[in-house]
């Protein structure tokens, strides 16, 4: 059976699925919403008690909550603004100074006072509910639907502030049709999972429809740990099934986040480092190894896929019965893929992340794996994963198909770029099929691609990939392994991984050296490489450096800027590029690439080295210590008519005063220096470009 055709877990009796559903809701720690909320309440109240010693408003809220009793406060304390105000005020109490994403303390106090009034008046709904918001159903677990028509009272203003900080956009005012569509999706969800749906929705106090803007661009649904209580849904909802699945998905994230607030899901220090221990094999790496996941994301995806397996199994079994009312089944992930992804992530959590989990996390992993076994007793053999690789391979082929269809793309140029990759993939698949003796699938590849020219193969890249995936799938022992021993699986993995690594830069028309640099940055968890916009500017300026010119980069990091510079130089070899980095770990990473011979990588403190390197026609000053502390030395190294580029001049409002001051000093130095003509571009991360006079 091929990867493409098998999509469903073998059906289970409705009684069995119902029992699993009830167990997922009833577990006294991991399933019971009331218990989970009560632990969240205890933790928030503890913080309020600490705040009450410093804030009259916090004391007022604490007293009001105390008088109200323990029950019925879910929508008050679960509200995004109220819980953020408590958390942010507590963080700022414990860690003085500006905090990213934090509500200002004065606003937190206003929220405390207004929430105290709300509770004293006997109200138990979300404080956001001032009459301007509708509710997505009549029951206690139904969320309120955010509308941008909500007035700018303290709750509306603070929610907008938090969302603007995180997403750089504000949710919309939904139309009546949109509201009806979401309501219908929730009705379907409750029809499918009458116990699990309310349990998950219990943790989503508000739902916001989001525009295709800011960090919501191309986002179909979203939720964030630090914006607890609200889920976000794109406006592209097409069917009630789609809405039901996405609302369920995000509400489950909120349930897990609420659990995490009161339990040792992960080790307490886990956020200190940035290891990315797990590869989501079915997802493309794109340019930045986007399929490498931090443990908190692995856990959240594991939790949600385990539940989505049940959702999809029930949906698939009841499709015929429900189609007349809700239309044909259309969900993002079918039951088998949901199961396989959940199973894989559970295995990875046990094998690769165990030390990063807390005791609650370890127990929940074991519990959910048992639940998965009940849903589908036919789990993949340990370590077998070719189904996940082939899933990615096919998904990438669809992306290629989309690129060829894109009216803005040049199909001939795209085919030329993809040609060598298509040839290598065909050759790799042929060799692998020959090795395992899969003659019929091999013949199919031979007849489709055997003697074709590279350009032709490139033009047929999407179809060839599907053909290769199908041939490998047909040749495999089962869905999960090529052969019994598994000894040839590694070659299939390499075929897919190498293909992915080459495919995305080719698709994007991205310089290979830059793509390589971005990958190194991801591997090291380095997030400060120069942006693509600044990189392209460097490439343009490098290309214009006079004959036999010299270019200096201060702050190589992993070599992304250097890659843009060498890209701009193209085939030139008359130019010398010197790149300086003081951090040995970063410098060593940059050196792993084979650079053109005119590039010299120097591991040194730029402040000490700059006086020994000569003069330059283009200087990219990216290292903070030298651009802020030794800009005169940089200027001395700049030749007459040379260009100086400084980036990262945009300083956010939450930055420390000292950071703003040093940027301001640099700005003044450059703009007022008699030898420099400069311009500051309000673009990318903020860029200053200056030229040095002839004199």
């Amino acid at each position: 059976m091929t990867v493409a055709t098998q999509t469903k877990v073998a059906p289970q009796a409705p009684e069995v699925l119902g029992a699993i559903e009830r167990a997922l809701v009833a577990h006294p720690a991991f399933g019971d919403s009331r218990y989970i909320f009560d632990r969240l309440r205890v933790c928030l109240t503890y913080r309020l008690e600490r705040l009450a010693g410093h804030s009259g408003a916090a004391r007022e809220l604490l007293d009001a909550l105390g008088a109200a009793g323990r029950d019925g406060l879910e929508h008050v304390l679960g509200d995004t603004v109220v819980r953020c105000a408590i958390l942010h005020a507590h963080i700022q109490l414990e860690t003085p100074g500006p905090s990213p994403y934090a509500l200002p303390v004065e606003d937190c106090e206003l929220v405390f006072a207004a929430t105290a009034r709300h509770v004293r008046e006997g109200k138990r709904d979300t404080p956001l509910s001032d009459g301007s918001l509708s509710r997505l159903g009549p029951d206690a677990h139904h969320p309120w639907l955010w509308s941008d028509e909500h007035p700018a009272d303290v709750f509306g203003r603070c929610l907008r502030y938090l969302l603007k900080q995180r997403y750089n956009a504000i949710p919309v005012a939904p139309t009546d049709a949109e509201q009806a569509q979401v309501t219908r999706g929730i009705q379907l969800l409750e029809e499918l999972l009458p116990d699990l749906a309310p349990s998950a929705l219990h943790h989503a106090h508000a739902l916001a429809l989001v525009p295709d803007a800011g960090r919501w661009t191309n986002v179909s649904s979203a939720s964030q740990f630090d914006l607890g209580g609200t889920i976000f849904l794109g406006r592209s909802s097409v069917t009630p099934w789609w809405t039901a699945e996405h609302v369920f998905h995000e509400a489950l994230h909120q349930k897990l986040y609420d659990f995490r607030h009161g339990h040792t899901l992960l080790d307490l220090d886990v956020a200190d480092g940035k290891p990315l221990p797990v590869c989501a094999l079915w997802n493309p790496p794109r340019l930045h190894k986007a399929n490498r996941w931090h443990v908190h994301r692995v856990f959240a995806a594991f939790h949600v896929y385990a539940h989505l397996t049940l959702f999809a199994m029930v949906a698939e079994q009841r499709e015929a019965e429900l189609a007349h009312e809700y239309g044909p089944l259309r969900v993002t992930v079918d039951s088998l893929r949901a199961f396989e992804r959940a199973w894989y992530l559970g295995e990875r959590l046990k094998e690769d992340c165990w030390e990063l989990l807390g005791s609650a996390g370890r127990q929940m992993v074991e519990w959910l794996l048992v639940a998965l076994e009940f849903m589908n007793p036919s789990s993949p053999p340990p370590g077998a994963d070719i189904h996940l690789y082939l899933d990615r391979y096919v998904r990438e082929s669809r992306e290629a198909e989309g690129a060829f269809r894109d009216a803005q793309s040049d199909p001939v140029a795209l085919a030329e770029r993809l040609g060598p990759l298509a040839r290598d993939e065909v050759d790799g698949a042929r060799a692998l099929l020959a090795t395992i003796g899969a003659h019929e699938p091999l013949d199919r590849i031979e007849s489709a691609a055997g003697s074709s020219a590279e350009g032709d193969l490139g033009a047929r890249f999407p179809q060839l990939r599907l053909l290769i995936a199908e041939a490998l799938s047909d040749a495999a022992l089962d869905r999960y392994r090529l052969t019994e021993s598994g000894e040839h699986d590694e070659r299939l993995r390499a075929l897919v991984e190498d293909g992915s690594d080459r495919f995305h830069p080719l698709l994007a028309g991205y310089p290979p050296a830059v793509a390589d640099g971005r990958r190194r940055a991801t591997e090291l968890g380095f997030g400060q490489s120069c942006s693509d916009d600044v990189g392209r500017l460097l490439a343009v300026l490098a290309g214009a450096v006079p004959r036999d010119g010299r270019i200096l980069e201060l702050g190589t990091a992993v070599g992304v800027g250097t890659a843009w510079i060498t890209t701009g130089l193209g085939t030139r070899s008359d130019v010398e590029v010197v790149s300086v980095e003081s951090d040995e770990r970063l410098s060593n990473s940059a050196r792993t690439r084979r650079w053109p011979p005119y590039v010299a990588m120097v591991t040194a403190d730029g402040r000490e080295a700059i006086g020994t390197l000569g003069t330059f026609d283009l200087v990219f000053a990216d290292a903070a210590p030298i651009k802020y502390g030794h800009i005169e030395a940089v200027l001395a190294a700049l030749r007459p008519r040379g260009l100086l580029v400084i980036d990262d001049t945009h300083i956010g409002s939450s930055a420390a005063e000292t950071a703003r001051e040093r940027v301001e000093m640099l700005r003044r130095f450059v703009s007022k220096h008699p030898e420099l003509t400069s311009v500051e571009l309000d673009w990318a991360s903020g860029v200053i470009v200056a030229s040095k006079s002839d004199a």
Partner: protein, 80 residues
């Protein structure tokens, strides 16, 4: 009632009992406390979370690497 009668009455009785037993275990107060965050460490926890929040800022330099945002491409719907 014989075993066969019970099976006829409820063909999934054993399985349902097993599901209840293995997934719906009871927990004592002490067992629950073992997995709960100690309140006294919430200060450290908040600071850790603050760093985690800060790190998301960099993750978003490509929208597809965001935290739990599900992204749809023109052709392919991305899901965690």
């Amino acid at each position: 009632m014989s075993g066969q009668d019970a099976q006829r009455e409820h063909p999934f009785k054993d399985k349902l009992e097993e599901i209840g037993r293995r997934l719906g275990e009871e927990r004592s107060r002490e067992e629950l406390e073992e997995i709960q965050i100690e309140l006294k460490v919430l200060e450290q926890w908040d600071q850790t979370m603050l760093k985690a929040s800060d790190s998301h800022d960099h993750d978003h330099d490509e929208v597809l690497s965001g935290d739990h945002d599900h992204v749809h491409q023109p052709i392919v719907l991305e899901l965690d």
